[in-house]
Symmetry: C2
Subunit: 348 residues, 2 copies
Amino acid sequence: MASERVSERGLAVLHAIVRDYVSSNEPVGSKAIVDRHRFGVSAATIRNDMALLEDEELIAAPHTSSGRVPTDKGYRLYVDTLSRIRPLTSGQRSAIERFLGESHDLDDMLARTVRLLSQLTNQVAVVQYPSLRRTKVRHIDLVALGEDRVLCVLILGTGVVEQQLATLPAAQVTEAWVNGLRDRIAGALVGLDLEEAEAEAQLLTGTIDDWVQPDEADLVRLVLGVVLAQLQANRSDRITIAGRANLSRPGDFEGSLPQVLEAIEEQVTLLRLFGELVSGDREVAASIGRENEPYGLAGASVIASSYEHEGDSRSNLGVLGPMRMDYAGNIATVRAVASYLSKMLGEA
Amino acid sequence: MASERVSERGLAVLHAIVRDYVSSNEPVGSKAIVDRHRFGVSAATIRNDMALLEDEELIAAPHTSSGRVPTDKGYRLYVDTLSRIRPLTSGQRSAIERFLGESHDLDDMLARTVRLLSQLTNQVAVVQYPSLRRTKVRHIDLVALGEDRVLCVLILGTGVVEQQLATLPAAQVTEAWVNGLRDRIAGALVGLDLEEAEAEAQLLTGTIDDWVQPDEADLVRLVLGVVLAQLQANRSDRITIAGRANLSRPGDFEGSLPQVLEAIEEQVTLLRLFGELVSGDREVAASIGRENEPYGLAGASVIASSYEHEGDSRSNLGVLGPMRMDYAGNIATVRAVASYLSKMLGEA
DNA sequence: ACTGGCACTCGAAACATGAGAGTGCCAGGG
DNA sequence: CCCTGGCACTCTCATGTTTCGAGTGCCAGT
């Protein structure tokens, strides 16, 4: 553990360095620390502590004899030893309520959330749409709309209704035929969750020749294709992002900006990162610097939490920014926004 | 007109300057021009022409005695005097076909289009979703699904079907009642386009007390609310963007990057800009530098065109990049992608 | 109308210099 | 044992100086 090797005061010095560096973006020296923070000791003492911190690779000097800068490991220890989550200011609380309180439409709500989060933190905000992966298929219906059209209706456990019109090439559609097909498909898929249903539908499509007349196979395949498309569209996780302009704040990502923008555009990666991050047992988790390397975000830090939406499942949200960010504030903000969002969605 | 004041060769020199500057990102001097392009004259002659171009504010010198750089006005004249649209290479053509040919789902298609466009041009690509603003309401249906549920179905002129389940607080739903309400609402809205229908639905909601029993007002309001939400969701214009990482290419937006990112995030602005740009009679239009100032994109250039989707209406697409971009190539690419997309959507 | 020549300007790069901030370390004191 | 003041040392940054070369403008000559 850290406490084995770093003294009480050493930790305090680390905290001071992180705080000063975050606000000034300049390496911080021993003198600056004793000036700005009321340690009861002299600069020389701080220097000794700093030498120790440097041995532990918690801080580093950009060049011999300039101030120190926290390393990934330093930020990590800093975050892990943040004692309490600083409460939000009343202004921030009311901003959240005002901003999120005005809308009942889910899409609008999430759009507001992501903008709010990016404004409160001055970072890139990411909000995942509620995942329907575990939602069950409640109802499947096929309705003949004429001689060559079939309306495919899909109702999910959450009450979401999707449908799509399939136009069949030949005029072979009879009500009885459609009903038979409907019973067949519904019998196979209703009650499964979306992931299972998709697999099952794939299977049905593959073995199509075993259970329909050969001359109907094409039609059935088409209809199944529509159902499959609906399942896939609902299964897929989507995210919404705001505040990218914050990335170009000078002094943050300088050279690595292209990579970061690239990584953000690759939404699949972000989804994985957030998923991984939130899977722990913490209410809000942070991932710092090189810990994000597998996701192409080596220089960045991510703070993530999750919100609950109707039903039991959770989706993720959070912010992404430079390593040099206000962890204490952002953790508090992310946590607060996540909990407000859960509350709002619970009420609806 | 330009030809009044700028000689034939002067124009050729301008073209040479633009081409060289675009590819090198360095001010281009008279010597470089005679070296790289086979003018039959000496550098001194070119210098005289350049002095003229400078008088016309078509080019400018970053500092006394260095090469020249095209101005907004210079780029504009260059684009306007691009004689023919350079055809795409066969590689590009096949890339387009391969990329766009694989999908029949509209969302997927547009997602592919925007990625393709950004990769072919190395710029930020923007594609607007088909606008349903002018689409007519073809059919409205309310179906009682039990004692407290009503399914609201909305079918648009394009064949898009939307529906949503409304759960009513009290168990007052009878089939007859729902049918009456349906006739009422459908009678008022069917045949209008989405914009009109939305206004009309607002009106209906406002005067609700005049045409239903007081004790039913809440139910009716709820149902109308669902219809209204559907109308609004379909009316709104959405865009999808790809290739933001291209903006951070060094030497392009340097300092103004935050503003550009900001402007891109503000999708409403982009929609206006694209709309404005395409409204002319040209197949593909360009907007250069300060012409974009009202949209917060002073340093950028936009190349826009539009594609046709089933029905008669058109939506926009294009690319956005630094003033110093390959106009000839990008115009050709945007045009080709737009026409392919129209073709694909026409077939479906 | 074009060309070659020439003086001039200005930025970029290379190098030197001094100031300042910050460190490491040591000997001495509570 | 921990802390302190002091001191020599190192490295960056800002500044100044010089040189070099690319490019221009202009003019006299074809």
